[in-house]
């Protein structure tokens, strides 16, 4: 007969890890670039609304919505969340190795898989909170701006797209988080793997369909409610002419995330504390 798994204990331990990690994630200096990256779209749309209110620029509502899709896909997903995941998730273990404090976790009666889960959740919570706020506020600013234009009739229906943008934001944090968690365990220098992933995510248009599935942006693009206006050189960022439907994209991305977390757990089970040589 199989022994009963101690789910209650594991949950308590995950909460204890979250308690410790959340403080670090939100308060450390390393998080300042994350806040700046998340604040940029808010500032952009605040400035846009302000300029329109002062009569400095004219814009059509439909164009604003299309441009928001472009900013969201090119900047928020591909740059802001991507590099924030590098800063947060890559340092979950690597940062502790550099600070020589990882052994305290390894000397607690905590399964290393639970440690991976707790640390990943702490990074996920932090990035989800920050970028959900960023997406919501920037979209609401856009809606507020639309209500002041001739295209005010568009604001109501467009608001229905907010949950889809939020969903894509959360899944981007989850997917890129898992990618950079495992890379933080595998590489000492974060630059090489970061550049490699950035290039991989940027050349999907040239890759065969099967390889596109091993990417985060492939699934995210399918979830965006408005097609981004990729033209000219920007067309390189169009992942696929035939996007995957949401009912496949969401489980696909979640499966990719889980696979990466399983790999991270296997890696950390074999990890040794050798700060001098890490």
């Amino acid at each position: 007969m199989k022994a009963k798994l101690p789910w209650g204990l594991w949950w308590t331990q995950i909460l204890a890890i979250l308690r410790l990690e959340m403080k670090k994630n939100f308060a450390r200096k390393r998080s300042i670039p994350v806040y700046l990256l998340a604040a940029s779209p808010i500032l952009l749309y605040a400035a846009h609304a302000f300029a329109h209110a002062r009569g400095w620029n004219q814009c059509s509502g439909q164009q604003d919505l299309t441009e928001f899709a472009g900013v969201f896909q090119l900047y928020v997903l591909r740059l802001a969340i991507f590099f924030s995941a590098v800063a947060v998730f890559m340092n979950l273990f690597r940062g502790e190795v550099l600070e020589k404090s990882l052994h305290y976790y390894f000397l607690a009666p905590v399964r290393r898989e639970i440690l991976v889960a707790g640390k990943y959740l702490s990074g996920l919570l932090m990035t989800c909170v920050v970028f959900s706020l960023s997406t919501t506020l920037s979209y609401l600013l856009l809606m507020g701006h639309l209500r002041m234009t001739a295209a005010r009739a568009l604001a109501g229906p467009a608001l229905a797209d907010l949950p889809a943008y939020l969903g894509a934001t959360l899944l981007a944090c989850a997917g890129y988080g898992a990618v950079f968690l495992i890379l933080g365990l595998l590489f000492r220098n974060p630059i090489v793997p970061t550049v490699a992933v950035l290039i991989w995510e940027s050349i999907l248009v040239f890759l065969p369909a099967i390889l596109k599935k091993v990417s985060v942006i492939f699934y995210l693009e399918s979830l965006c409610p408005v097609k981004a206006p990729f033209r000219g050189g920007g067309a390189l960022f169009a992942v696929s002419a035939d996007p995957t439907p949401a009912y496949l994209a969401v489980p696909g991305l979640l499966m990719l995330t889980i696979a990466l977390l399983v790999l991270a757990s296997l890696r950390i089970r074999r990890m040794e504390i050798r700060y001098g040589t890490e």
Partner: protein
């Protein structure tokens, strides 16, 4: 070897790439205070990291009271490890450090608070516990690490250079704490460079050199096995040193006798201490000499260390 009450190393080797950590270690550590002694790079910390799962053996098997080090859920309920790393999770107070450790053990809020306070009290850190660890002195950091290792009331305590950075008063209190914990039946494994203190606290020692265990056991027993190669030296203070010297020279087992400058005593080197003490007793009973003191001069850890590891060891 009785597995479930011992810390057992069964033919354990650890290589860091091409570099030897420890090689073919065969050990069984009983309850009480066991000290690992050896120069820098001899393998003391590697042995401790192996028994706590921080590094994994290249070959061989380790069991801590019957538990494998790769089973942290069971192992760290009964083991506490105070490492040599002088680093802590950022921004924590001494109390938070212990409290968080106990929450990781799965303890509730009230239990974690109480166990934290108990551990802080044992290491005399109650008063500064509310301050951030970053503001602590080296000695305070050492004590808070010790508190963290004992806060969950383990049965096995592994301490890597626990006396480093402590002032004489704190050192004395810490040694008293180790003794008290050993009396409670704990296994305490210590590594130390401070040989005269090792002598004061150890029930047994493990001498390491270049990754090999060169001797293990109670220090007097280890010393006893070396009498042929390194005759035991005994200091004798008595009334008739000349007479005693004459009787001793007639014995085959006596290698050397040196008269003290004040002509009130002798330093005797013997390959058979039992025969020597028997002869001494006989002379006292006969009334030939009157003794004021008899004491071995080189059956301490320092001497054994010098004989076995000596100049090659260096660091200790």
């Amino acid at each position: 070897m009785s597995g479930d009450n011992h810390i057992v190393f069964d033919d354990v080797s650890k290589f860091y790439g091409d570099v030897l950590g420890v090689n073919r270690v065969q050990l069984s550590i009983p309850p009480g205070i066991t000290t690992l002694v050896g120069p820098n790079g001899s393998g003391k910390t590697t042995l401790m990291n192996l028994m706590t799962g921080l590094v994994q053996p290249t070959r061989g098997r380790i069991r801590v009271l019957g538990i494998a080090p790769d089973d942290p859920e069971r192992l760290f309920r009964l083991l506490g490890y105070c490492t040599q790393f002088d680093s802590f999770p950022k921004s924590l107070t001494g109390f938070d450090f212990l409290y968080t450790t106990l929450r990781l053990h799965g303890e509730g809020h009230a239990e974690s608070c109480e166990l934290s306070r108990n551990a802080l009290e044992r290491v005399n850190m109650t008063e500064p516990a509310g301050r951030r660890i970053a503001s602590y002195s080296k000695g305070m950091r050492q004590r808070i690490k010790l508190a963290q290792a004992i806060c969950h009331q383990p049965s096995v305590l592994v301490l890597d250079e626990p006396l480093n950075g402590l002032d004489p008063m704190a050192r004395s209190e810490t040694i008293a704490l180790f003794r008290a914990l050993a009396r409670e039946g704990l296994h305490i494994v210590i590594s130390s460079h401070i040989l005269h203190e090792v002598d004061r606290i150890s029930d047994q020692v493990v001498l390491l050199s270049n990754g090999y265990v060169v001797a293990e056991g109670q220090i007097q027993a280890v010393r006893g096995e070396m009498h042929q190669e390194h005759p035991l030296q005994v200091l004798v203070r008595c009334t008739q040193p000349g007479l005693l010297a004459a009787r001793l020279f007639a014995q085959d087992h006596v290698v050397e006798v040196k008269m003290h400058n004040d002509r009130q005593g002798l330093l005797v080197s013997t390959r058979d201490p039992d025969l020597f003490y028997e002869l001494l007793n006989q002379l006292v009973v006969e009334g030939a000499v009157e003794l004021s003191s008899v004491a071995p001069a080189d059956d301490d850890v320092h001497s054994v260390y010098e004989y076995l590891i000596g100049a090659a060891g260096g660091g200790a």
